[in-house]
Symmetry: C2
Subunit: 351 residues, 2 copies
């Protein structure tokens, strides 16, 4: 089997995680769930091992984050990676169209593993095993997605209905529904037949291009022009701004996954989280005997069930419970765990 | 009447107010209770006006804080002030001995108004009026202290028992008891006959020297030698380290006030606080309609009865109550109002 090409999607803004995540330095460039950045953790998942061979990674990111990505790549010993730089954010369909077109220049039949740079995966070995399980279906031209057992009626995710088996642990996608309403999401979860789409995909470059040609031809055309007119320097490909701006801003889930007939799914227990709020970060975090999750320089006294995080200044909590305290070079957030989803209030107040 | 010489005592360490107050930058150099530093607020109280004439101030401070004091003096237009620099902290008796000896070189009969640099006085006009009321007694050689109506059995203060009147609003001190135990403090408060010593004094330089000669001769001798051997440069007097270290570390309250027969007291409603904890800062602070006290760049949402302070990074509070949140260049403190007296835990943890 040829090496799988990792495609690191690093275009997210992570506005739900102020003060860590900002437009200038979004979530993936922070030490969010460990003592390493989420970007570094993501790269670590696709190092070649005895189980799976990975090729040179390709990173798709905003042009304004080029320097941060280069620093991350250097620090991870991946300075040979290819960069596809977006002149503006256009969501995942145009981003993946451009990545597939760039990959197709070299080898249109190569398998591409799409990994968002800002997710937590506690069991990376399970991801690698799932790649192997999915590779035959992907080589056969299917868009393979990895499905997570839902823990609740979360309305921000795509829901995948598993169909007939087509291989060992691989199933046809019977239905794909992006961001359902709450009642529908609850019905899906109750049925036991649906799983969450984690935004992780495996496919042939040529297969995705064929799907886009069928289902989102204007996005493919805009991406094709943006790649053709791109300025290339070293490993960096600066997509043409005027051409790329012509692509509509659409996720791959809406543009392809909801409509395609050619999708497969591999259910896998990844220990996955997209860390959409600090409450989630507390839930998935390693807790001490008082239920506290801490990162960085913290000192806690008579404190229970708190999340405390600072990689800059020391932070002390004394006699408090159920709080989220996050410190960054942009500011400080103090909130209750149950109000952690409201941090946009803060980021907007200080804009 | 000759101008009164303000003596600004700026030697305190304020270890109960981490992370604002640190050894390198103690409490008085911070914007604690307003948008100006406590030092600047203190200087503002002794500007000459139609009511009282003040002379050139003298600042007694640790040698390591000379630069910060000079910056404060410059910013307040008081760069002509005299500095008496302590090579090491020796509490207020040696500090005031040195200040009185330095003043006596110029005019031993000048009245000196001693003001700690790290107290809040909400009614500075009352202080000035009290100085006028006290001046005759001080000129007659008494050590005049200003007394505050106690709000509770606080054990950290000196308690003054008011004696016979000797002038308009001026009384002999019948008894002075520094830092009583809780039961005694409660009895004092219940009696209605005692008031707190605020650490603010008015006296003739020569009168304090005479008291010290009587009651604490070794402190006076050490201070005299430290002044004699001092290195003088511009307005700064660097007390001799070896000589000054020979003075025992004692407060003026223990060294003189508890024993002297020559003390008077002026009861005055200053709106005084020594801001011994962040809980106090919340109590004396200007509250918004939700009971919050804020300083600096803060944003509060659904938050009640909190103290939030940051003059560096923006700080956001969402859905919390009864917290103290303080941000400085040294660190971040998050505690409940009722645990605010335990901040030493934090400062020691990060030492």
């Amino acid at each position: 089997m040829k090496p799988i090409i990792p495609i690191i999607l690093s275009g997210g803004a992570g506005s739900r995680l102020w003060p860590l995540s900002t437009e200038l330095k979004p979530k993936q460039f922070h030490k969010l769930a460990s003592e390493r950045t989420m970007f570094a953790e993501t790269l670590e998942r696709v190092v070649t091992g005895d189980d799976v061979a990975f090729g040179v990674p390709m990173v798709v990111c905003g042009a304004r984050h080029e320097t941060q990505v280069l620093l991350e790549l250097d620090a991870s010993g991946s300075s040979h990676a290819k960069l596809v730089l977006e002149p503006m954010a256009r969501n995942t369909a145009p981003a993946l169209a451009a990545a597939a077109l760039v990959q197709a220049e070299i080898d249109p039949d190569a398998l591409m593993l799409v990994l968002p740079a800002d997710h937590v995966i506690e069991r990376p070995l399970a991801l690698r095993a799932a790649c192997l399980a999915a590779s035959e279906a992907a080589q056969n031209g299917l868009i393979v997605t990895f499905a997570i057992v839902p823990t609740g009626p979360e309305i921000g995710y795509g829901y995948i209905k598993t169909g007939a088996p087509i291989g060992d642990g691989v199933y046809k996608v019977a239905a794909f529904r992006e961001k359902p309403d709450l009642a529908t999401a609850q019905a899906y979860v109750n049925s036991g037949e649906y799983a969450w789409n984690a935004g992780i995909f495996l496919f042939r470059a040529s297969a995705l291009i064929a799907e886009l040609d069928q289902l989102a031809p204007e996005i493919l055309a805009a991406a094709r022009l943006a790649v053709k007119l791109a300025r290339r320097a070293g490993n960096s490909i600066h997509l043409d701004a005027e051409a790329f701006s012509g692509a509509s801003s659409k996720s791959i889930d809406y543009a392809v996954m909801e409509s395609t007939e050619n999708a497969a799914v591999v259910p896998v227990d990844l220990g996955w989280s997209d860390v959409g709020s600090y409450a989630t970060l507390w839930e998935i975090g390693q807790k001490d005997s008082n239920g506290n999750v801490t990162f960085g320089t913290t000192a806690l006294f008579d404190t229970t069930n708190c999340l405390a995080q600072s990689h800059t200044l020391p932070v002390a909590l004394i006699g408090v419970s159920d709080l989220v305290v996050v410190v960054s070079e942009s500011g400080i957030l103090v909130t209750s765990r149950e109000r952690a989803q409201d941090v946009r209030l803060a980021s907007e107040a200080f804009k």
